[in-house]
């Protein structure tokens, strides 16, 4: 009897257990399916939200890159190369990196990539950037609107390929001297219509001569006699005499520029009233524009010597400090996968 009773109890426990298992199994499958579906939806929404956050991070990175633009650093970057520009954490789980590719002397491509380590979400974008700075005419090492007289030594060199690696610009070969048709000049000079028009001396791309004068960083009085200035943009309100020394940058002289000492200058010289060299050993790397239409627009006196070497690199170095970085619009921005 005890044995039969024990079998009966075992049978009853077996039915109850089966019922419980069936119920648990059915309910569990519904709960698991609902949980799985909710989990997928939650993950997809979170990924979409994270991607949006990372897209915002790329915009912030671009703004930071523009704000912290180091003109001197990027001037040295060779064309066609890519260098890291920035790197920072968006938050604990995401990182943003940026690179700069130099496309040409004035155009750069900024590439930003933001990645999330946890969710494997990512966002990226590229943006073309331009340095807006004066565009001086690369017509010749010396561009004069009037006659060029060399009673002393006038040497010009117009191949700046040796300089090209230094500032990232492409090598350029231009004539040594350019004057308007019919003007008197040494035999190596070429005639060019551009040398005879106002805009060559007054308009430099999006900048004007007047605009540059207004932004001068060093003002020199009319008739001043000084050492060659080393200034971003020096302006003489009348005639100017350079008595010697080394200088660099952009020099604008409203009157006549007289060089009476051994001057070494690197950059751009705009002499509205012409140029007169009365000393030996004067060297200029860059570009000289003489806007005077006189018979002695440029005069190198007897026993004097001007050694002029055209250098696009020196011109770039002179204009970059007053350049302004801006986005290329339209079609400058592009998303990257």
């Amino acid at each position: 009897m005890r044995a039969r009773s024990g079998r009966s109890r075992r049978a009853r426990r077996g039915i109850a257990l089966l019922l419980a298992l069936v119920a648990l199994g059915v309910a569990g499958s519904f709960v698991a399916a609902a949980f799985f579906a909710a989990r997928i939806a939650w993950t997809a929404d979170r990924l979409a939200q994270r991607t949006l956050q990372l897209q915002g991070a790329t915009d912030i990175a671009l703004a930071q890159l523009i704000q912290a633009w180091d003109a001197a650093r990027w001037l040295r970057q060779p064309v066609g190369t890519t260098q890291p520009a920035l790197e920072f954490d968006v938050d604990a789980g995401a990182r943003t990196r940026g690179w700069i590719t130099r496309v040409s002397s004035r155009t750069f491509l900024a590439t930003i990539r933001a990645t999330d380590r946890a969710d494997s979400a990512a966002a990226g974008a590229t943006h073309l950037l331009r340095v807006e700075s004066p565009r001086f005419p690369g017509l010749a090492a010396l561009v004069a609107r009037g006659d060029v007289r060399a009673d002393g030594v006038l040497q010009t060199s117009a191949d700046d390929s040796a300089d090209a690696s230094g500032c990232g610009s492409m090598a350029a070969a231009v004539p040594g001297i350019m004057v308007p048709p019919g003007r008197t000049a040494p035999p190596m000079a070429v005639e060019g219509r551009e040398a005879g028009i106002d805009s060559t001396y007054l308009v430099f791309g999006t900048s004007s001569l007047d605009g540059l004068v207004r932004g001068a960083t060093l003002e020199l009085g009319a008739g001043a006699a000084v050492a060659a200035p080393a200034a971003v943009l020096a302006h003489a309100a009348g005639d100017l005499e350079l008595v010697g020394g080394s200088g660099s940058g952009i020099l604008i002289v409203d009157g006549r520029l007289r060089v009476t000492g051994p001057v070494s200058y690197r950059g751009v010289i705009v002499a509205v009233g012409g140029l007169e060299v009365a000393a030996a050993g004067v060297t200029v790397d860059g570009l000289i524009l003489s806007a005077s239409v006189d018979a002695s627009s440029v005069l190198v006196k007897p026993n004097a010597g001007l050694h002029l070497r055209y250098s696009a690199c020196a011109v770039e170095a002179a204009v970059w400090p007053i350049g302004r970085l801006r986005l290329v619009i339209p079609r400058g921005w592009a998303p990257t996968p």
Partner: protein, 278 residues
């Protein structure tokens, strides 16, 4: 006595089991209906959202001038859709689009979809101030052989153009590739409305057949908020522009409303053209 009790217990147990199973089956049916309804609702929301996502991704990178004003309607937009961007080497009428620039760095080229013959190519001409984009047509695409002065690797793409670019003195040029594409709300053969895509076929000089890219959406209703897809064109300040549009350059953004039946789930998005002129 114990046997009788066991029989009653068995009968009660069977009844209870039947009741529980019946309740579970009914619950399961209602749960399935609820799940179906939830899934349908999510699908509608997803269809509307997907429609907006597709259009936003295509329209955001383009310039206002890339939208064809004569083909801009309340349910269709035609644009030079973004295909990719690159910094390329110029070799006469060919462009060499290189791969990676530096190890662990960015690629010099990035394409959403591979370029092909017939695509439009915009090259940045920076000789003047301000710079401008020169347009050409890609006539042939060859894989590989992209090595040039600045990139040693020979993979990448070579894009042949219909004419050389005028920037002869430049070695590198920034380019963007675009494809004439038309997005519209259309009635499919299955009786449902979808966001359709038609790409320009240069060989046939006409648009290729329409392909559904998102949906289903609500049916078209002219100038109605209840339409499955509605475009409103905005100027740079976000003000609606009257149609027909006079100048594509004036478009600064596109407001898109997508709606899906039967739950009438609606989603709105204003796409600001990142490259619209301010």
């Amino acid at each position: 006595m114990r046997r009788g009790v066991t029989a009653i217990e068995m009968a009660v147990t069977l009844c209870l089991l039947g009741l529980v199973l019946a309740l579970l089956a009914r619950r399961a049916a209602s749960l399935e209906r609820w799940q179906r309804a939830l899934q349908a609702s999510r699908q509608q929301a997803w269809a509307a959202r997907q429609t907006l996502d597709v259009l936003a991704a295509q329209l955001a990178p383009i310039a206002g001038g890339d939208i064809a004003p004569q083909a801009a309607s309340d349910s269709a937009v035609e644009a030079q859709a973004f295909v990719g961007t690159a910094v390329a080497c110029m070799q006469g009428a060919e462009l060499r689009v290189a791969g990676d620039a530096v190890a662990d760095g960015p690629a010099l080229a990035s394409f959403v979809t591979p370029p092909r013959a017939g695509d439009r190519l915009f090259a940045l001409d920076e000789r003047g101030a301000p710079e401008r984009w020169v347009e050409r047509t890609v006539t042939r695409v060859v894989s590989g052989g992209a090595a040039c002065l600045f990139v040693a690797r020979g993979d990448g793409l070579v894009l042949a153009l219909d004419a050389p670019l005028p920037m002869a003195g430049s070695a590198l040029v920034a380019v963007r590739v675009a494809r004439r594409t038309r997005f519209s709300l259309y009635l499919s053969g299955d009786g449902l409305w979808y966001l359709g895509l038609r790409e320009w076929n240069a060989d046939a000089s006409r648009f290729a057949g329409i392909q559904p890219v998102a949906g289903p959406l609500s049916a078209y209703r002219a100038n109605s908020d209840r339409s499955g897809l509605r475009f409103t064109y905005l100027d740079a300040a976000g003000r609606p522009l009257a149609r027909p549009l006079a100048l594509a350059e004036s478009i600064g953004g596109v407001e898109i409303a997508a709606r899906s039946d039967p739950g009438a789930f609606a989603a709105h998005l204003a796409v600001v053209l990142r490259d619209a002129r301010p």
